[in-house]
Amino acid sequence: MPFLDDLPAQRLQQMTDEEFWNYARAQASASSKIPALHNASTEQYLECDLRLGTCLIALSFIQEVLPPPQLIARLPQVPSWMAGVVAWRGEPVAVIHLERYVFDNDDEPAGSSMLLIVTCEDITLGLLVANIGPTMALPVHNPEAQTEVVRGKHENSLILDIPLLLVDAMQQIEAGAEYA
């Protein structure tokens, strides 16, 4: 493909459909040969905006990023940070307001524009966040010593321990039924 490098916009406009798709395929193929951004000692994190700050979530736990559904089914006797239940891949999944959960406040959360589906082992939850930002590489974390859901800070962003968060959230939601 002689026009792969420094392809002028005009040339792009002149392409036929077939030429365009050939070009797109070549670009995709070329990008897959780019060396990974992280190596064995680093892990990729996604920055998520919350009204009271930002947090970082390891990409390896994120299954999907979706716009939040219009209707979230409320469930009685649940913690205040649980927004409700949505269907994901045909199964009901609990959705939590990440801001309420992390900062433990009962204020009305800022409008959420993104729903992150996170999974660890057999637990799946949806996390509502105001927005998502760039990804960044951070050193790999040793999970064994971890006891807090917020396991540290990178610059001003909170680094979340997702396996711990999932277990803790699920236990608290389950406990709600006992108090019912």
Binding site: P69, L71, I72, A73, R74, L75, P76, Q77, G84, V85, V86, A87, G90, E91, P92, A94, M170, Q171, I173, E174, G176, A177, A180
Partner: protein
Amino acid sequence: MPDPFPFDHSKLSPEDLEVLRAFHEMEDFAPKDTSTTQLPEAVKPEIGDEEEDMLLIFAGEADEDIGTMREALRQMEQDDSIDSPGLFTLQRRAHKLRGAALAIGCDSMATIAHHIEAIAKRVKVGHIPYMTGLMALVQGVHALELTLESVVEKEQESIAPLLDLEKDLEALGVQAQEEIPAAKSDEEQKPTSDEQPAEAQDETIFPEKNLTIMHPFDRTRLDHLLLHTEQLVEQQAPLEDAQKQVAAALQELQAAQARLRRLETLFSMLSYSGNNAFHSQDVQLERPPSSLVERILRDAARRKGRDYAPKERATAPMMPSAEDALWDEMEIDRYTETNLLAHSLSEAIADVSTATSKLQQAFARLEAVIAQHMAKASLARGDALALRNMPCRRLIERLQAAVTLLATRLKREVQFEFSGEEIELDQEILDVLAEPLSQLVRENFAEGVQAASSKDDSSYRIWLHARTPGSEVTLEFGFSLPVAGGLVDVLHSALKYASLSVSLQRNEEGGITLFLRVPRSKGVVQGLLVRAGEQQLIIPFSQVRRIDYAEPGQYDTLYSLTLLLNFPEIRSGKDRPILLLERNADYEPQLAVQVDEVIGQIEIVMRPSPNYLRRPGIPGMAIDGKGNVLLVLSLPELIKQYVKRCQNTGELPEVLQPAVEEHRQPTVMIVDDSIFIREAISQTLSYHGYQVKKAHDGLEALERLWDEAPDALLLDIEMPNMNGFDLLHVLSARPTRPDMKIIMLTSRFSDKHKERAFALGAHDYLTKPVIDEVLIGTLRRLLEPIGV
């Protein structure tokens, strides 16, 4: 004078010791050191002159019980098997007699009855050989008869028969009681079949644990198949949405096509006028092609505050010169560029028309194919669901076998009638029901026959009729005579597992009939789609009797659905629909629930919620075609939970239309099958200013509960037809008066009975014989906070 019959305390069971302790606490029972006190040969029961009638009532009742026990012994002799229903009858009658004897002060009779009860239990579990046990039981019943004779004839309870019995038991090597471990008695450790705690019963009938599953294939795969076929059906809504979008796009295309046609006409006119101008060599000004265009341009200019003036147009660069146009050497048609453009435009429009027409045809075909696909997906789902179903014949055969076996054992004619054997039900539900219904035949019905056999020789009937009113199946399971209580208790686990509802009614033959309402298929729910606040929810049809839009005021109790769900209340308008809940029986109150909107009806597959999302009153969830999660509700359970929450917090339930109550004397209903207990307690309560109602079993209490509105129930456990636990089950599922207090008054004092009663909603637990002050104190303590 030395005591000829020294009393050995070590031979007393914990129950005996408890009874003695209770008596010692009574004011009129002087505390004595029984280890040194010589018991007299004959003990006169503490009976005053005014209580002579009570003694007669007791004697009559005890005589009847002993008669039934005799009949049960004869049955045992014939059966020669530990499965003999006679054992069950003996156990229950002895228990009943023990309670009444304790209450009137005949402690010798109470002890003998207790021995009989304990021996029967031990024979049943194989701890005592059958024939030895039978001999011991014969001696026990004989001792009871002799003791009762002494009470009736001499008005003194002779202790000699008890002592003789204990000697006989010793000679037979029969221990009435098990060795008692320090912490728990064997009775508590190894419950007998009729006393199994709920967990143990769950094990016997909970299908996931050990039920014989008849599926010839892996059930997980069947579940997957059901899920996938349901997902196929769920595609209907997105497909319909996509269809609508394509239809809208097609309409836009047709509109654009119409606009193009109009432009084509205009363009042709322009082309024609251009040619004319060309031919007349008068092509100086570019005029709008029509008055319409001119008007549009003029209006636009006016809006911008300018005058409209047609612009001059430069000569078209491709336009041939006048000379070229005039000279036509070959005399052939000449086309200008405008002509060619107009022609191309016409051709393009024709192509678009053809494509649109083809698209319309393809879309019509697609619609037909989608409709066909959805119909087939629906069929596939129906077929997959049908894999779970079996005809009711399967259940009928099990019951028929149980009835035949029983009739053989009893040597009585017992007819079994049935109908609706081809009606299909979910296999799991059939399996879950088979064992408890058979148990009702083997034990509860058998005891009813034992009790009746001493009076007449008539034949008996059991029937099972399956019917299909709407989306459910109703199973009518009837007995032609009164049966032993505990029906609901026996069915409890099955009802809970399969989300079934049950009601009990007396039938015309004087017996009792159970009505079980069963969903046709366990997975599919058919119901109303309603809105509460902003949320859509499903309420199965089986729970709703009628939808009403009338003003609140004609219901016994009206709740708000948002309140039941603990959602924020959003009052939205006056004419909100009211759902009248289905009543299991005519005597039940009419409960109603107000919702914000009834959207329509829905048939959808209900999935069990993941464990951590399970909530009482929400048996499952469904996912609609748009991917929204819909909660499936059980309104009776939600009401029950709401009332319970209020009780825990000490608040009165907030109801939109409370039941009308008038100021009245505190009323207590005594529910006990013993006439003596009813009369004795009644006298005490009347003396202390209570209005008293009496019911001889749980069913009678239930039938009268709403109309007579007692403030408290004094509830025995063991009663025919509907026992105390049965009534608690029913009341907890269908709370009538949320503030009614329930006090258990029973001779059962083990922790497991207490725990069960409290778990089912009892407010206090007293054991017989109860001291008047304790009874009155308990009533006052419970009734005072609610202002009675």
